[in-house]
């Protein structure tokens, strides 16, 4: 049996422990990048500067080999993806012409406008940050929770939320 008093072992443990802290931080960062969610708005419209026009006809857009979406000129579709790196394939419904592009999405943007014309034309960057104009906030609820054990109308210790029926209605 060895003890922790030995300075050699102590030094080794210090190294292992600091390495572990690094692993912890690294793992957090890794899960952050791997799990980072993005809403891709797949946009098939003419570019505003007119340099490129919408891809004509129907196209199939497929992200990371998942089920393809049909997109027509003027369409905007939304697709949620996780992680930074993705392969986007655009296939012409008519011609069967298939273009695959690898994209790396920026970490800090939740919503990105992905332009199909640019994608087809290969003009980088394919995407630009997108800020929705007016997101209707979900209905507002009141403030804090119900553990106010002193309020006269003390509350039921509701069971697990979904299964529990509300207290009997008046």
């Amino acid at each position: 049996m060895k003890t922790a008093v030995d300075p050699k072992i102590r030094a080794r443990r210090l190294v292992v422990r600091s390495a572990l802290v690094l692993v912890f931080v690294g793992l957090t960062a890794l899960s952050f990048t791997l799990g980072k969610g993005h809403s891709l708005i797949i946009d098939n419209r003419d570019l505003e500067d007119g340099s490129l026009s919408a891809a004509p006809d129907g196209n199939l857009v497929s992200i990371d080999g998942k089920e393809a979406l049909e997109i027509y000129p003027g369409d905007r579709l939304m697709e949620k993806v996780l992680g930074q790196r993705h392969v986007i394939a655009v296939e012409d419904l008519m011609g069967g012409n298939r273009i695959e592009r690898r994209v790396t999405l920026p970490l800090n943007a939740d919503m990105l406008l992905l332009s199909v014309p640019k994608l087809i034309a290969g003009v980088e960057p394919y995407f630009e940050p997108f800020t929705p104009l007016n997101v209707a906030p979900p209905p507002e609820e009141g403030g804090s929770g119900n553990n106010s054990f002193t309020s006269p109308d003390a509350v039921a210790p509701g069971a697990e939320s979904p299964e529990a029926p509300p207290a009997p209605a008046p």
Partner: protein, 537 residues
């Protein structure tokens, strides 16, 4: 063996607690493989000596000690028991320090388990190692074999007979590789005679292997049987340090209790006459943990002061506790010829008995309440005193004025040092607390008063006052007193008869002026032909 240098030597060790000298200039040596029998009455300083040896924090907290403790000739000063363990000193305590739900093996290697390292040690330290159970068992068996006894390494402690627990505890100490000195404090107290035999054999076994042993016991014949040398402590002095050869039990007994100063009787030769029998006790047994009473018969006559002496743990404390109903008891007790129901403290009190408990702080006092409460409570509850009617006699509340008057009266009579009658009991000194306990008992004006260890833990002046008070109540009010004490001198100074309790029975009843050696023999469980037969019908 004889030529070796001493393993342990104590040089002029002295210790005092708040001016109270408990050890004075104690010296002795111990060689490897030697068994030293350490004997002495309760309070002779054995425990304090062992505490010093073990570096118990209580010693340092109370001002440390004087003199030197040397191991292998170099002075040591342990800061904690763990330092002592590291230095190779093992201690087997009187009460078991074992985990009942663990097996023999687990207890023997407790906190010294064999471990197998793994990667997690690097992260979370040694405690993440996996236990190596086969090796633990091997080590445990090794220790058991060294001891030379028969123990199942996989048995749960809770399922063991007492003797095996004791062996497990010793095996645990010798399992430490370094253990060279083993201290056993009353190891045979809980054992049957056959178990004790086995234990003594095991100890000699260990000694042959070079382990030095300090054997503390009150069973003197065992000490003579097993020890090479005997050290007798009396009042903090090592009065005798002698090889065991040629020493008799009677010798040791007289060394133990012998006094240089003759006892002063409070009554100088007055002629004592007693009334009729007030209390008779037949076949009393009491289940008081640590103080079991097995079969006790005695009777007390009116106006008498009967003393109960004996060593700790022999059951003398169980007698008053059982009669007063505080612990489960059986047998036949009659007060004034009327049967006293057992296990009902209230009945005992109502019949005119009162009790001053040895456990002053635990049972005797309401520490958080005022002196008034402490003194008047029992009288109020049992006799309905100190209550005043509010609405007729139907609804009565405390008579605070009456309580205060009573308390102030006793503060005066017993010279209780306090700021006022409203002071909290916990703020008083031990001696004054004891006086409060006495006042509580006196307040119910008992016919028969039990006093248990009335002078334990109080200073000399207070001791004298307490004894004088008891004496005064006995003489002036005719209160019959049964007094239980570990201090023989105290009993001899005040009692009319002294019963010595040993192993839950009365070993004998002696007059106070009997030869000291007689008392010593009775306490050590040896037959004393001169003693008065206990069972006088």
């Amino acid at each position: 063996m004889g030529q070796q240098s001493p393993l342990l030597s104590l040089e002029h060790v002295s210790k005092e607690f708040y001016g109270n000298v408990v050890l004075h200039d104690v010296c002795f040596d111990l060689k490897p493989g030697e068994i030293l029998g350490l004997v002495g009455e309760n309070g002779a300083g054995k425990t304090t000596l062992m505490r010093i040896l073990f570096g118990m924090p209580v010693i340092a907290e109370t001002g440390g000690y004087k003199g030197r403790v040397c191991i292998d000739g170099t002075e040591v000063n342990f800061g904690s028991p763990f330092d002592a363990l590291d230095a190779g000193i093992g201690m087997v305590h009187q009460e078991f320090s074992l985990i009942p739900g663990f097996t023999t093996t687990e207890n023997i290697v407790l906190n010294r388990e064999s471990m197998k390292a793994n990667f997690l040690n690097e992260v979370f330290g040694d405690r993440m190692s996996v236990l190596d159970r086969p090796d633990m068992k091997k080590r445990a068996q090794g220790a058991i074999e060294r001891l030379g006894v028969n123990l199942d390494p996989d048995m749960l402690i809770s399922e063991m007979p007492v003797g095996h627990k004791q062996f497990t505890e010793i095996a645990r100490e010798i399992n430490r590789e370094k253990t060279r000195l083993l201290v056993l404090d009353e190891p045979t107290a809980v054992l049957t005679e056959t178990e004790a035999e086995v234990l003594l054999k095991a100890l000699r076994n260990l000694a042959k292997q070079g382990i030095a042993i300090i054997f503390i016991s009150h069973r003197l014949h065992e000490v003579i049987e097993v020890a090479d040398r005997i050290v007798v402590l009396r009042d903090g002095l090592a009065v005798k340090d002698t090889p065991v050869a040629g020493v008799s039990v009677r010798d040791i007994a007289s060394w133990m209790v012998g006094r240089s100063i003759a006892t002063e009787r409070l009554d100088s030769g007055e002629k004592r006459e007693f009334g009729e029998e007030i209390l008779s006790v037949e076949r009393l047994w009491v289940d008081m943990p640590g103080e079991t009473v097995r079969n006790v018969n005695f009777s007390v006559r009116k106006g008498e002061i009967l003393g109960f002496g004996g060593l700790a743990g022999q059951g003398k404390l169980g007698i008053p506790n059982g009669i007063m109903g505080l612990f489960p008891a059986g047998g036949k007790i009659a007060l004034h010829g009327k049967d006293v129901p057992l296990n009902e403290p209230r009945k005992a009190l109502e019949m005119g008995m009162a009790f001053v408990s040895e456990d002053r702080r635990g049972v005797g006092l309401l520490l958080d309440e005022s002196l008034e409460w402490n003194i008047a409570f029992t009288a109020m509850q049992i006799q309905g005193k100190y209550l005043r009617p509010l609405i007729g006699n139907f609804f009565r509340i405390r008579d605070e004025g009456g309580m205060r008057k009573l308390t102030e009266e006793y503060i005066g009579v017993l010279d209780i040092k306090c700021t006022s009658a409203a002071q909290k009991a916990k703020e008083l000194s031990g001696g004054n607390q004891q006086k409060v306990c006495l006042a509580k008992a006196f307040a119910v004006k008992p016919d028969l008063l039990f006093v248990s260890e009335p002078t334990r833990g109080i200073d000399v002046g207070a001791k004298k006052l307490v004894l004088d008070t008891l004496h005064k109540y006995n003489r002036e009010y005719g209160t019959t007193i049964v007094m239980v004490s570990s201090e023989l001198e105290e009993l001899r100074s005040i009692c009319d008869r002294i019963a010595i309790v040993d192993e839950g029975r009365i070993a004998g009843i002696l007059p106070p002026h009997a030869d000291l050696a007689e008392f010593g023999l009775l306490m050590s469980g040896e037959k004393a032909p001169a003693a008065e037969e206990p069972n006088r019908a």
